[in-house]
Subunit: 205 residues, 2 copies
């Protein structure tokens, strides 16, 4: 069974949005302007999305899976904590680099709509919880100093979000390795300060 006509149209609109946001900020996105780049009329948009913010929510869903995947290395790894974190952060930076404009667009759009703001907040918050759990585990193992895991997890995740969107959100992207080593430095120093070799020496400059 081939994809229905509706599915094709929907995808075409989503694609047009992605392309648009590749080069222009969310504030310049209008339903009329977007649909003009497709072969459909403006009202067609409303057949598939409630409004521009619902549209952004859909775009976020598409990116979400990739990001959650990347986090697994560290989170579901009972073993090598430092190595797992290294790997998770590396793939996180990769994915963010890849989808930078979409992530920035969603972050930009979020404050404009109560529902999308909640969705974005939940998206970030979901990381807070899993990171917090992993921190607690490493604290029990004596790898990590004893502090309240949740607020620190929140702080580190906000750092990632702000840094990655700032670095990769707009056209001219910052060099990946610089961004990676900065956030890696902060994560490792905070969570595994006893592992001096990891936190001080082994980070590429």
């Amino acid at each position: 069974m081939p994809p229905s006509k509706a599915a094709i149209t929907r995808s075409a609109i989503l694609d047009a949005g992605s392309v648009f946001l590749e080069t222009r900020p969310f504030r310049d996105l209008t339903v009329g302007g977007l649909m003009a780049t497709t072969e459909y009329s403006r009202p067609t948009f409303y057949l598939y999305f409630n409004d521009l913010h619902g549209f952004m929510e859909t775009l976020l869903d598409e990116v979400k899976v990739g990001i959650v995947e990347g986090a697994r290395a560290w989170l579901s790894n009972e073993g090598d904590a430092v190595g797992g974190l290294r790997q998770s952060l590396t793939t996180l930076v990769d994915v963010a680099h890849q989808h930078g404009p979409i992530l920035k667009a969603v972050a930009d759009a979020a404050p404009g709509d109560a529902r999308l703001e909640r969705v974005w907040e939940m998206f970030l918050g979901s990381f807070d919880e899993v990171v917090s759990a992993r921190i607690a585990q490493d604290q029990a193992a004596g790898l990590t100093p004893d502090f309240e895991p949740l607020p620190v997890a929140r702080a580190l995740n906000r750092m990632d979000a702000g840094m990655l969107i700032q670095a990769f959100g707009s056209g001219e992207k910052a060099p990946k390795d610089v961004v990676l080593s900065a956030i890696m430095r902060v994560w490792l120093s905070t969570l595994y300060p006893f592992d001096a070799a990891a936190s001080i020496e082994q980070i590429g400059r």
Copy 2:
């Protein structure tokens, strides 16, 4: 000489805006709605501000001074690095707690206007530079490990911004001490890891 009538009107509008944003998000702010809470008509708004984003820029300027003040302890202190940083972060958290809703409103408004976005970006960026300079100084003194100061400064500042706005931006504010000890933990671990007493023991839980 008493303040001119214009100055009074302007202040009245600014106050009305502050009051509004105390309880409602920026997305609900309209020129008509705002002016309806004053004794002036809608066009009067445009006598004093270009648009809502220019209005937010003015609001930011009012808060800016307080924040820059707070940063001085650490930045202009050649002596006790850890103590200075502690003090700077403490007052930063205080100020952010005080002006939380305004800061969130500006951050929310920024992506909607190219000019305000630049202003906000510059505001954050200005901290990147001074923090970076202080880091370089402490690296030279052997207090801080050797890494690229600017990206790490950026990361830490983005963490502050994201964390503080999330914690203090909306009505029910998070407890100050929890937020403070979380970001303090991260800053100290990253910048002064050799000062074990400072980064591990002395932080209140």
